[in-house]
């Protein structure tokens, strides 16, 4: 059950800066220094360079916004759930699910990554990344 749902996007181990929180697998442009998430190799969105390298991003940041979703059409996810926009300390902004037990959220509060049990398309249990208020 230690298998990750989206291993291309995150890993269980943290970074040197934030060792206790799962890291996100981003990228950095060797030409202009732009840091982005997720890693891609098509070309830098800022300058077009193909010199793109993996860059681990710490699983810590602050909350830009959150919303409780009451209506959801897609399969495999049942409303209500909460999503948030988090600016990572390493720069990029990510939008993803917030843990259900988070309680009231306030813009600006510190958030950190955590792994939570979810299911893949076949219904098998997998660990998926969430954000939670920093303990």
């Amino acid at each position: 059950m230690d298998e990750l749902l989206k291993p291309a996007l995150y890993r269980a181990e943290g970074t040197t800066a934030v060792p206790q929180r799962p890291a996100l697998l981003g990228g950095e442009c060797g030409a202009c220094g732009y840091v982005f998430f997720p890693l891609q190799r098509y070309g830098c969105e800022k300058c077009g360079s193909l010199d793109l390298k993996p860059r681990d991003l710490s699983g810590a940041g602050s909350l830009l916004a959150s919303a409780r979703v009451h209506l959801h059409a897609g399969k495999g996810r049942v409303a209500p759930f909460t999503v948030g926009a988090i600016r990572l300390d390493d720069g990029p902004i990510v939008r993803t699910l917030i843990v259900e037990e988070a309680g009231p959220l306030a813009v600006g509060q510190r958030m950190a990554t955590t792994l939570e049990t979810a299911t893949d398309a076949e219904g098998a249990p997998r660990l998926d990344l969430r954000f939670a208020p920093e303990a």
Partner: protein, 381 residues
Amino acid sequence: MTTLKDLRPAYVAGIGFHRYQFISDTPYVELGLTAVRGALADAGLPWPAVESAYVAKALLPMAPGRPMLRHLGATGLPIVHVEDASASGSAAFRHAVMEVASGLADIVLVIGVDKPMPVGRAESLARIGGLADDAIAPFTHFALLADAYAARSGAKVEDIALVALKNHRNGAKNPFAQHQKERTLDEILNGKKIAGGFTSLQCTPVGEGAAAVIVASEEGLKRHGLGLDRAIRVAGSAGRSQRVYDDATRYDAMLTQETAAIALREAGLSPSDIDVAELHDAFTVEEVEYLEAMGFAPEGQAVPMLKEGAFDIGGRCAVSPSGGLISMGHPIGPTGVGQIGEITRQLRGEAGPRQQPGARHGLAHMVGVGAVCYVHLLSRD
């Protein structure tokens, strides 16, 4: 660089609509033909006068243009299909204006027509998935922006909902609107919950419909014995796509800001000159964000101005007098064309109970996923 100012003037000479409505059995051909025939009759032009056609659609399958337009008589005119997501109609209008302004054609049709159908987004085929893309539908994207706007400006959920109150009030007076019912703030706030502070009446409905406009040169109109008395000049046109912004989540507003600035500069107008504006209010928070981004309100001041009635019909600038996307609807392909139709009606002084008194300059704005943005300025000379 050449701008519209350096080319010959292009005018909106005719407008036509099929009502925006909930999905029905009506074939798209009938929706589209109703709007085209309406625009031709409004302009006083016969179909064979039309030299070129732009068909805006985002949801209908490939090449709906000729199977529709042949029923007006197959004249052999060139037909271009334009898809730019929500901004498809705005993109089509811009290209029709360019064709007329450049002198390549004198009379051009723009027709937006669509019916709701399941279509995917090409972006999902790039194989650069996010952490939980499926959890963030468009209404959730904007619910997140509403939360951030509230935190930034101090506005409350019920303040932002005032946009829906105004736009439903306007749409109730528009026979082509999908929602034609005035609502109380209570009804709006206590409706079906969608995401964040949004209820269903604060979100654009899914629907179908059609809108058409005829773009013409003075020479073309003259050739058919017509003058410029009801013609509305296209004073500015700008199209842009998203760049890399510091707050990547606010790309709609950032993109709107730079696109509007270009169009206003081209037209030699400032936001205070604009009497009437149709903007991309698919979700309430968008209207306040874009009013600030385009310079109609200082940063954080759109809500107080909304409360004072500055954006009501009869206020400083009537915003979404048609009802906007929230009330008139957003059938996608037609939406940007319909905005041009509404602005034209307003600048002609023919908007009846929705008329903004003395309207001389109007602005139309759409964003589309991707993201892309268009801003057009129309003026009565």
